[in-house]
Amino acid sequence: MDAKKLVDNARKILVEAQLLCQESNSQIYTFRNDLSLWQRQLMKLKFVIGCLKQQGSFLLHCVLEKGISEKLIRDEWGNNVLKELVSEMRIWQDKITDQVSRLDQIDNVLVHTETGTLNPKLSDYISRDNVNILDERLMEMPVIQKQIESIKSQYASMLKKVKENVNETTLREIELTLEDKFGNNCPDTITLSETCPDELDKLEKDLAEFISSITEHYDKTKLLETYEKKNLEMYESLYEVVTEDNNELPCIMTSLKEKISLVDRTLLKYQTVWDKKKLEKKLLQQNISKMNEEFKKYYEYLQIFKDISNLISTFKESCIADIQMIKDLFQFYKNFEKSYEDLLAEVERRKLTCKKMKAIILQCEEKLQALSEEDLGARELFLNDNGNYLPENIWPNKIDDFSPLYRLEYHIEEL
C-alpha cells in the first residue's frame, strides 16, 4: 500500500469518526444543557416549597393563632367582654326604665284640666322612642352569641384542617416527596447531578481521545507522504508504524462505534431516570398547586371571619353608643325631674310675690281713700266760704267739681 492510499484511508476514517463524534457530542451537549435547565427548575421548586412552608406557618401561627384566636375570639369576643357589655346594658336599661316610671308617677299640677280628666304626667312630655333601645340590643345578643359560637367552632375546624394540611397531609407530603425524590441524599439526585455529569465528561474525553489518536495517525500518513520522496530511511521506519496503525483502524472504528453506542445507551439510561424524575416532579407540582389552592380557599374563609368580625364590632360599637345615649338620656330625665321640682318652687315664689304686691296696693288704696275723703271735706269748706263770690268761668268746670283727685288702676297676675 502506498502512502497516498494510507492518507486517503486515514482521511476517510477521520471524517467518518468526526461525524460520528460530532453527533454524539451534540447529543451530550443538549442533554447537559437540558439537565442544567432542569436543575434550575428544581431550584425553583425547592424555593417555592420553602415559601409554602413559611406561608403555612404564617397562616397557622400568625393569622389563626394570633389574629383570630387571641385578638378576635379571646380579646374581642371573649365571654368576659360580652358579659360586661351585657351587664352594663342591663344596668342602664334598668336605670332609664326606673327613671321613666318615676316620671310616670308625677302629675303636672301646673296644667288646669277639665274636671273628671286626670292631670298629665311628667312622662307625657318626653319621647319614649329610645327608652327601650338597650332592651332591643339585649334581645339581639343571643343571635350574636350564637354567631360567635358558630364562628368559634368554624375556627376550631379550620385550625384542625390547617394543622393537618401543614403538619401531616398535603404540605408534609410535599416536603417528604421533595426530600425523598429530590433531596441531596436521593440516589437519583446523585445520579443526575454527580454521576451523570462525571460519566458524560468521561465519555466526551474518550471520544476526544479517539479523534486525537485518529488525527495523529492521519498526521503520520501525511508525514509519510512527504517522506516518500525525500527521506527513504525515515519513510521506511515510519511506514511500518503507519501500516500497523492502518491495520488497526477497523478495530479502532469498531471500538469507537461501541463507545458511541455506549454514549447512546448512557444517555438513554439517564434519560430514563430523568423521565421518571420529570413524572415525579409533575406529581409534586400538582401537590404544590393543590396546596396553593388550599391556601387560597383558606383566604376565603379568612374573609368570612373578617366579615363576621366587622359585623360584631359594629354591633359592639352601636351597643356602646346606645349605652352612652341612654346615659345622657337618663341624666336628662333626672334633670327634668329636678327642674320640675324647682319649677313648682318658682311658681310658689311668684305667687308669694303677687300676694306681697297685692298687700302693698291695698295699703296704698286705703291711704289714698283717706286722703281723698279729707280732700272732699276741705273742698266743701272752701265752697261754703267762697263759692258765692267766684264766677263760674274763672276756672271752668273745676271750682265745684267733686270728683276724686286720683284714680287707682292696677293689675296683678293671677297665678
Binding site: C51, Q54, K66, Q285
Partner: protein
C-alpha cells in the same frame, strides 16, 4: 460598523432590583409609624446591583453578568450568589434578562427603553426593574401585633406570589 451611515451604541443601562418580600412592607409600615417622613435612601427593598462583568459571546451579542450585591438584601456572605444576566442584541436592544439564584426568584421585569439620536449616533437607554422575591421568612416576630385585616392581606399577597412562581415552573 463605521462604514454605515449610522452607528448604534448601547447607552445607559439602569438596573434596579426591587425585592417584593412582604417582610419589607411590614418593616416599612412600622418605621413610618414612628417617623413622619419616609426616607427612600433607607429602603431595604431596593438595590442597584454592583460587581458587573461583561461577556461578549461574539461580536453580535452582548451579555452582562451582574452579581447582585447580596449584603443589602440581607445576606452576609461576600461571595456572589446571585447572577443577573442581561442580554442585548447587536443594536443594543434589550432582549432578555434572567436571574440565577438560590435565594431569589424573578417575579417580573418592568422595562423601558428610550433611543437618543445624536448626529446619527443612536444610543439606547434602558431602565430595567427586576422584581424579585426572596425566600419567605418567619414573620411571627414582626407580624404578630398587626391588625387582623393587615395579616389577611399579607397572607393574600404571599398566596399570589406563590401562584406566580407555580405558573413559571
Amino acid at each position: 460598523m463605521e462604514s454605515n451611515a449610522t452607528t448604534n451604541t448601547i447607552g445607559n443601562l439602569t438596573l434596579i432590583v426591587r425585592e417584593k418580600n412582604i417582610y419589607h412592607t411590614i418593616v416599612k409600615d412600622k418605621e413610618s409609624q414612628y417617623s413622619s417622613s419616609s426616607n427612600p435612601e433607607c429602603a431595604t427593598d431596593v438595590t442597584f446591583p454592583t460587581n458587573i462583568k461583561y461577556i461578549f459571546e461574539d461580536d453580535e451579542e452582548h451579555e452582562k453578568v451582574i452579581g447582585l450585591d447580596t449584603t443589602s438584601l440581607g445576606s452576609s456572605k461576600d461571595t456572589i450568589e446571585n447572577v443577573i444576566v442581561v442580554q442585548l442584541d447587536e443594536n443594543g436592544a434589550f432582549e432578555d434578562v434572567d436571574l440565577i439564584s438560590e435565594n431569589y426568584i424573578l417575579l417580573d421585569v418592568i422595562k423601558s427603553e428610550d433611543t437618543v439620536d445624536e448626529n446619527k449616533n443612536i444610543s439606547r437607554n434602558h431602565d430595567i426593574e427586576l422584581q424579585v422575591l426572596s425566600k419567605f421568612r418567619d414573620l411571627s416576630p414582626i407580624a404578630n401585633d398587626l391588625p387582623l385585616d393587615d395579616m389577611i392581606s399579607l397572607y393574600r399577597i404571599q398566596n399570589e406570589q406563590i401562584e406566580t412562581i407555580c405558573n413559571s415552573l
